[in-house]
Amino acid sequence: MATTSLATSNATGSPTRLRAPARLALQIALLLGSVLMLAPFALMLLVSLMPLSAFMKREFSLSVLTLNNYVETFRVVPFGRYYLNSIFVTVSVTIGQTLIASLAAYAFARLRFRGRDGLFMVYLATLMIPFPVTLIPNFLIIKSLGWFDTYLALIVPGLFSVFATFLLRQYYRGIPLDLDEAARMDGASSLRIWWQVIVPLSGPVLATLAIFTFQGVWNEFLWPLVVINSESMRTIPLGLAAFVGQFKTAWNLLMAGSVIALLPILIIYILGQKWFVKGITLSGMGGR
């Protein structure tokens, strides 16, 4: 077998060049994979645009397409309110968490004070604790603070993240210390160095972290499920789950609701794809 010619080395690096038949087979396999991955989205969109009866009889034609399901969904479920709740909570947590983590990461990485490394090790150790362990006490804490069923319950616990602190600390340690020293010579305070030297230098990692947090908070389900009770406080995933409980097999409405719920995050994903992927690889490599 002429195996050596199957992959002649190319100058640019990793991707190997395949022969034409192998390339064709690969394209077909990848296309099939895409069909499998996209089918649920396609079904969602299709059913959301059809009357339920037409879908049940599998009548697929252009003439049955309608936007009525969307009108009906917005009529029976306050999706507008869910949107506002989700946007408010997600934006607050993302900005707050990034700032708080950045401040702490700056101190952990670049200031010298007693107990710094010990405290950081304690932070790291808590990464092992699974979410279900803190779920119940956090619910009790929120309740005793009088925050049950409020925005505070959705936002405040999310403001603190060991993961974000860790990721930023790793990055900040890589920035040359001479920059701080030079700024300090010029009489800059630590706060000023953080804001005017470190933060501007860490734009990409902050953006990656922010979009990553945004995605996580937007899709969060278990925590809101525990601390939210009233309909007007629901976020999108919560509202959607309640919608399923209410309209078990009204597939046309459920699919319209799902499309409404997914649209913002999918648009953000498609526009900012490279940041999502960067976030994964960044964390996958342990923050390096």
Partner: protein
């Protein structure tokens, strides 16, 4: 949840990632500096408050509740190991436990293999790579609740998947059984597995893709010169060089699968007859439906102990099969 899962990965790799990205200049002044003492505390204060209340305090409370007689009104007395004993005697807990074990055993290897296949395919010089990557990763950012709803429809008794099976049957004269995915205890777990694979495999793919791009081309070239076939090169060059990534994904996804919640919660409600109930789902139900927070806390700590032991053992075992480049 995804962000949360990442934390567990960091724990797994922390010994490597704790080393600084670039060595800090040493200027002969180690230790703390008095002028930065209070500044340091002030910078950390907001983060520390959150840490103290929602993690440190929470852990203590949780541990306390798990050893208490805890009712609707709160603390009623010390209960010793009663909650743990009740948990171990509860058949539903064991059912949830074995269901979760099933999820882990099926989901983790499938996801590793499928993800690696996809990554290897996308690491070739072919047209449309970024398009495929966009598509394969799309379910990862999708709200799980919406994903679960669509799969409820896809896998419904008269849903499109069963339509397809019936169509293949009539076309080829076969008699593949048409499963009642969501309504039978035999298939409900598989429904959860299918949803999870669709949702998460793209993540595995992206992590593997980054690892594959880090394998030096010279090694492939050298192997080719020695007459190694493409398959041999994959087995003897690629697989060992990406084994640290495989290790990370293995631990990370197992911990994730231990904590499966939303998928069965929305798609099957854990049913029928608890056949798809996961441990975290049972913890949730015990705490917030049955208001048995003491028992739920005991289960949460049992889960923690299990995850901890698993991760510890994996870390010990990794030297047997994970290849780390030595400088």
């Amino acid at each position: 949840m995804v962000a949360l899962l990442f934390c567990f990965h960091l724990m797994a790799t922390s010994d490597r990632s704790l080393t600084p990205a670039s060595p800090q200049p040493k200027r002969g002044r180690f230790g703390w500096r008095p002028d930065q003492q209070w500044e340091g505390y002030l910078f950390i204060l907001p983060s520390f408050l959150g840490f103290f209340v929602f993690i440190a305090l929470a852990v203590v409370i949780s541990l306390g509740i798990s050893f208490s007689d805890w009712g609707l009104t709160g603390w009623r007395g010390f209960a010793g190991l009663t909650n743990y004993q009740q948990m171990l005697r509860d058949p539903v807990f064991w059912q949830a436990f074995w269901n979760t074990a099933f999820y882990i055993v099926i989901i983790v290897p499938s996801q590793l293999i499928l993800g690696l296949l996809m990554a290897v395919a996308l690491n070739q010089a072919i047209r449309g790579r970024s398009f495929y990557r966009l598509i394969y990763f799309m379910p990862v950012v999708t709200t799980i609740v919406a994903g679960a709803i669509v799969f409820r429809l896809l896998l419904a008794n008269n849903g499109p998947v069963n339509d397809l099976i019936r169509w293949v049957n009539s076309l080829l004269g076969l008699s593949i059984p048409v499963p009642n995915w969501l309504g039978s205890s035999q298939f409900s777990k598989w429904a959860v597995v299918i949803l999870t694979l669709w949702k998460n495999t793209g993540f595995t793919m992206v992590v593997y893709l980054a690892a594959l791009q880090g394998v030096p081309q010279e090694l492939y070239d050298a192997a080719s010169v020695d007459g190694a076939s493409a398959w041999r090169r994959f087995l003897n060059v690629t697989v060992p060089l990406i084994s640290p990534t495989t290790f990370f994904l293995f631990v990370f996804q197992t911990i994730g699968a231990f904590q499966l919640f939303t998928e069965p919660f929305v798609m099957t409600q854990g049913g029928p007859a608890n056949s798809s109930l996961s441990v975290v789902q049972y913890i949730y139900l015990a705490a917030f439906r049955d208001i048995r927070m003491n028992k739920a806390s005991a289960m949460a700590w049992f889960l923690f102990l299990f995850i901890f032991t698993f991760t510890y053992l994996q870390n010990r075992l990794q030297q047997r099969w994970v290849y780390y480049e030595t400088d």
